[in-house]
């Protein structure tokens, strides 16, 4: 996933700095972190978001990449997504019926009233956190969007593996999140110093799937 960054004038310096860093990073060693997520039974966990935040706490000032969450056949696709804070997300309705997308999550409260096709304006998620979305007229439709303060995130696949690429060498707090975490407030974190291509493993306590 490519991260799109904004270009505010105030942040130009930061942008330059970050670009320099990025160059430096790329010039330097840009590693990738491969994370394996399993649950308490040892089974691979799909759709877990893994994100790395530098230990120093300052995420690079990259432009958040936009995301798309489709509504296909009365389902949000993808069900789980992650964006960087400030990313804009569009919700194209690829069904022939209208959907009414909403969320009451504190990170972003919004409602896209019943619509066909692509809403005019994308929704910008400018606060980190979890946004749970649903369709007002289709109770079964659920989507999870995790907004993180870092461009370094990935989603595990069916094997429970996710790779965060282009990671500058640094020490990172790697956090994993899954929507079925037993304790929704838990933040399983591991401090990983990424020097070269690293791997990490997370074991999550997950609720049973419904």
């Amino acid at each position: 996933m490519r991260i799109h960054k904004k270009k505010p004038t105030a942040m130009r310096f930061l942008y330059f700095f970050l670009a320099a860093f990025a160059l430096m990073a790329t010039l330097a060693h840009a590693a990738s972190l491969r994370v394996q997520v399993v649950d308490q039974a040892g089974a691979p966990v799909q759709d877990a978001i893994v994100y790395a935040v530098p230990v120093s706490g300052k995420p690079p000032a990259t432009k958040p990449l936009p995301a798309v969450i489709d509504q296909i056949k009365r389902r949000f696709v993808p069900m789980v997504s992650a964006v960087q804070t400030g990313a804009s997300v569009t919700f194209p309705n690829k069904d022939n019926i209208e959907h009414d997308v909403y969320s009451f999550s504190p990170a972003k409260r919004f409602e896209l009233n019943l619509y066909h096709g692509i809403p005019a304006n994308p929704v910008i998620f400018d606060k980190p956190g979890l946004v749970v979305m649903g369709c007002n007229i289709h109770d079964t439709m659920v989507a999870y969007l995790l907004i993180v303060d870092t461009p370094y995130f990935a989603k595990t696949d069916a094997n429970g593996a996710a790779t965060i690429g282009n990671l500058p060498v640094d020490a990172y707090k790697v956090v994993t999140w899954h929507f079925r975490l037993t304790d929704p407030n838990a933040q399983p974190t591991q401090k990983i110093a990424v020097n070269a291509d690293s791997a990490a493993k997370f074991e999550l306590q997950l609720k049973a799937a419904e």
Binding site: F104, G134, D139, V142
Partner: protein, 797 residues
């Protein structure tokens, strides 16, 4: 007692049987009814319980539905998600009101109360029903019962999905009386919601029961009265136990059966009454004829054979009645025959004594009423005994038959009765004849019997003696008449008259005499009897050395009663013993007294035949001699010939004993009785007394003198003294003296005198004797004794 009557018993058996049957049926049916009612009630309760469960479930489903709808409302979800507590509460209230929830609560995912429409202020506290939350979290919805603030609520929990569950909304519907009543109506049971605390105490939350019963429910007593069937259903509840009490009144359940029961009871009672009546009637139809038969039997028993019993039935009772009738006829016939036998003399075919008595009694009664004459005759055959003894009894019987035949031929009138009383005794009743008529008939009867009777070739000659009495002249009592007829008959027989009429003077046993008997007793006890003494003069020396004691009765009203009036009578009754004892006692006492006064007299006492055979006579005399201290030689006992001849052996035995004692004996009335000279020589007698009839007859009859002379010689030759009784004049005395008789006794010398007078006489006699020379005629004038009624004595008795 009631139970002795057959009718009562039959009726009772019937009634009791019916009663038992009916009662058994009633009890069985009744118990079945009650059991059915119970079972019905129980079943109803079971069904109602299920219905109730279903209703509760339905109710909770409905509530859950409503709550789900409320919770899915977008606005509500939005309100909840914004976490504005006031907004949330208002939304809760609003949506709660929509579905008439009484309480709405919001619980977060941690189980903490977020908002409570009912009672603000404890947000953040633990939600009191965590199980509910767990269930709804697991199952998607949950319902339960719980107590909040002292009231019970039906709670439903549903998730608030936005889109995933962000909270739980719990809606509570209060359990109140309205609900209970609604449930009650639905299930037809009485519904009460109860709560049980930890100690088991129960409280009533709501009830469809009326106040009274609800109050009793809250006391910790039994759940319900006996007339109720109950179920307690525990409701799924959290916290304090909430339960439902379902009640069904048995009375209500039994209500329809009540009618059945009362109908059954009525039928039973009617059945009993009908059976009672029926059984009484049946019993009566059986026992009435039986009672009639019993009555009939009683009549027969009493001798009433008149009417046969009338029973129209043709059954066994009818047969019994017929048998009874036959029995009656048979009895009647037999009784007739028996009567005949009873009243008939077997041999002659004449009426017997019993029948004669009956007829006589009737005749007397009718003669009394009608004042008509009546005659009774007693007839005795003469010499019949002779015929019987010589020719034998069979001949005698035939003779009697012939006699009867002849008598019957004489007495042909219907009203006259000739009866055979027994032996050769016949009686005749002439209810229409007076004395003359009777005599006529008697004559005819005798004439009829004059002809000799031919029996088996033997010519038998019998005569008869008839005694005739008439009513009322000869008596009014049947027995009296018969007795007097008998007496008259004996008179006729003795005098050979053929027939004789009754004359009182023949009757020794008049009624007067009977009263005399009791008076005699009195006389002895009250000393009305006295002893007079008649002296016996020695014809040679003219001395008086012996006196005879003679008893005399001084009756207060009759005056003097002659000894021959009562002595024979006393002899017959045995009372003579008492009299003799008295006489002996008195005589011996007198003898002792005289002896004490220097008067030397021996006293002789008369003893009767009876006493002679009585073996205690010697002892009696001995006792008396001892009592008065008299020497036995001073006492003489005079006995008549016939007295000895009655039972010579015994008599001689007694005489021997008396003689052995020293008492001297003399034979009285010698020559008049059936004397046996062979006995005479055996008897220890000392003296003979010639009966006065010979002595007096000496005057005019040579034969009497011969007898006297012979007797004197006989006596002397046997060594006995001879006394002549009845010396009434001087000539006799001289004559007797000439015949060498030893002693003389009689009026010429002295009448019997009382002791005092006798003493006087003795003195006079002594004077005379000494004054007058032996061969000269002494002045034998008896000294008037001045006593009265002397004429009644005739010397010795």
């Amino acid at each position: 007692m009631l139970l002795h009557s057959l009718r009562a018993r039959i009726a009772l058996v019937f009634v009791v049987l019916m009663l038992v049957a009916q009662a058994a049926a009633y009890l069985v049916i009744n118990s079945v009814i009650v059991k059915n009612a119970h079972r019905g009630a129980e079943e109803q309760l079971t069904v109602a319980e299920r219905v109730f469960g279903q209703v509760l479930r339905g109710n909770s489903e409905q509530l859950t539905q409503a709550a789900s709808v409320a919770a899915a409302d977008y606005g509500f979800r939005q309100a909840v998600a914004t976490h504005d507590s006031k907004t949330v509460v208002s939304a809760l209230e609003n949506h709660g009101d929509r579905i008439h929830a009484d309480i709405v609560m919001l619980v977060d995912l941690d189980g903490k109360l977020i908002a409570d429409s009912h009672d603000a202020g404890h947000e953040g506290s633990e939600f009191p029903f965590p199980n509910l939350i767990r269930t709804v979290a697991r199952k998607g919805d949950a319902s339960s019962f719980g107590m909040i603030g002292g009231r019970a609520y039906q709670l439903v929990a549903v998730p608030v999905k936005a889109p995933i569950t962000i909270a739980w909304v719990v809606m509570g519907f209060v359990i109140d009386d309205a609900l209970a009543r609604e449930m009650s109506t639905l299930t037809s049971l009485d519904v009460s919601f109860l709560t049980f605390d930890g100690d088991g105490n129960r409280g009533v939350l709501a009830s469809s029961l009326p106040e009274v019963q609800r109050a009793s429910l809250s006391d910790q007593g039994p759940l319900a009265d006996a007339g109720f069937v109950t179920r307690v259903v525990r409701l799924h509840s959290e916290g304090r136990t909430v339960a439902v009490l379902l009640e069904r009144s048995l009375n209500e359940a039994l209500e329809p059966y009540r009618r059945l029961q009362s109908a059954l009871l009525l039928i039973t009672i009617l059945g009993v009454i009908v059976s009672a009546i029926g059984s009484v009637l049946t019993a009566r139809s059986v026992t009435r004829p039986i009672a009639a038969l019993a009555q009939f039997s009683k009549r027969i028993g009493q001798g009433d054979y008149a009417e046969p019993i009338e029973i129209r039935q043709h059954d066994e009772i009818g047969q019994l009645a017929q048998a009874f009738n036959q029995m009656q006829e048979g009895i009647q016939e037999r009784e007739h025959r028996i009567t005949e036998l009873a009243y008939m003399d077997r041999l002659t075919g004449l009426p017997n004594r019993a029948l004669f008595s009956d007829r006589l009694q009737q005749a007397i009664a009718s003669a009394q009423r009608g004042d008509t004459p009546l005659a009774v005759m007693m007839m005795d055959l003469d010499r019949f005994k002779y015929v019987n003894d010589t020719l034998g009894h069979p001949i005698g019987d035939m003779l009697l038959c012939e006699v009867a035949q002849r008598l019957r031929s004489v007495l042909q009138r219907q009203t006259d009765t000739v009866a055979r009383l027994g032996g050769d005794e016949f009686a005749v009743l002439l209810p229409a004849d007076d004395l003359d008529g009777a005599c006529l008939i008697a004559t005819r009867m005798l004439r009829a019997l004059e002809q000799p009777i031919m029996i088996e070739g033997q010519l038998v000659d019998v005569g008869a003696s008839i005694g005739i009495v008439t009513f009322p002249d000869n008596g009014t009592d049947m027995n009296v008449l018969l007795r007097r007829a008998d007496i008259a008959m004996y008179v006729a027989k003795r005098s050979n008259l053929g027939f004789a009429l009754y004359d009182e003077k023949h009757d020794q046993n008049s009624a007067e005499r009977l009263s005399l008997m009791s008076e005699l007793r009195q006389a002895v006890e009250h000393d009305q009897l006295t002893l007079y003494y008649q002296p016996k003069v020695d014809l040679a020396t003219h001395r008086v050395k012996y006196v005879e004691a003679l008893v005399r009765w001084d009756h207060p009203t009759r005056g003097f009663v002659a000894p021959d009036q009562f002595i024979p009578f006393a002899e017959q009754t045995g009372y003579i013993k008492a009299i003799s004892r008295w006489v002996a006692d008195k005589a011996i006492a007198q003898c002792a007294e005289w002896h004490a006064h220097g008067i030397d007299l021996a006293v002789s006492v008369n003893v009767s035949a009876r006493e002679l055979i009585q073996s205690t006579l010697p002892e009696t005399f001995q006792a008396l001699l001892d009592k008065h201290d008299v020497a036995p030689e001073r006492i003489w006992i005079e006995i008549t010939e016939s007295a000895i001849m009655d039972d010579p052996n015994h008599a001689i035995e007694t005489l021997d004993r008396l003689h052995a004692m020293g008492i001297r004996l003399s034979i009285d009335d010698f020559g008049t009785g059936y004397s046996s000279l062979s006995y005479l020589k055996r008897m220890p007698v000392d003296e003979l007394k010639i009966d006065k009839s010979f002595v007096i007859g000496m005057t005019h009859h040579k034969d009497d003198e011969t007898i006297v002379r012979s007797t004197i010689d006989l006596g002397h030759n046997m060594g006995l003294k001879v006394v002549a009784e009845g010396v009434e004049d001087e000539a006799l005395m001289q004559r007797l003296k000439a015949l060498r008789c030893d002693l003389a006794q009689g009026y010429h010398l002295s009448r019997p005198l009382p002791p005092a007078k006798l003493e006087l006489w003795l003195k006079g006699w002594e004077v005379q004797r000494t004054l007058t020379p032996a061969h000269a005629e002494p002045d034998r004038r008896p000294i008037p004794d001045g006593s009265q009624g002397v004429l009644s004595f005739q010397g010795s008795s």
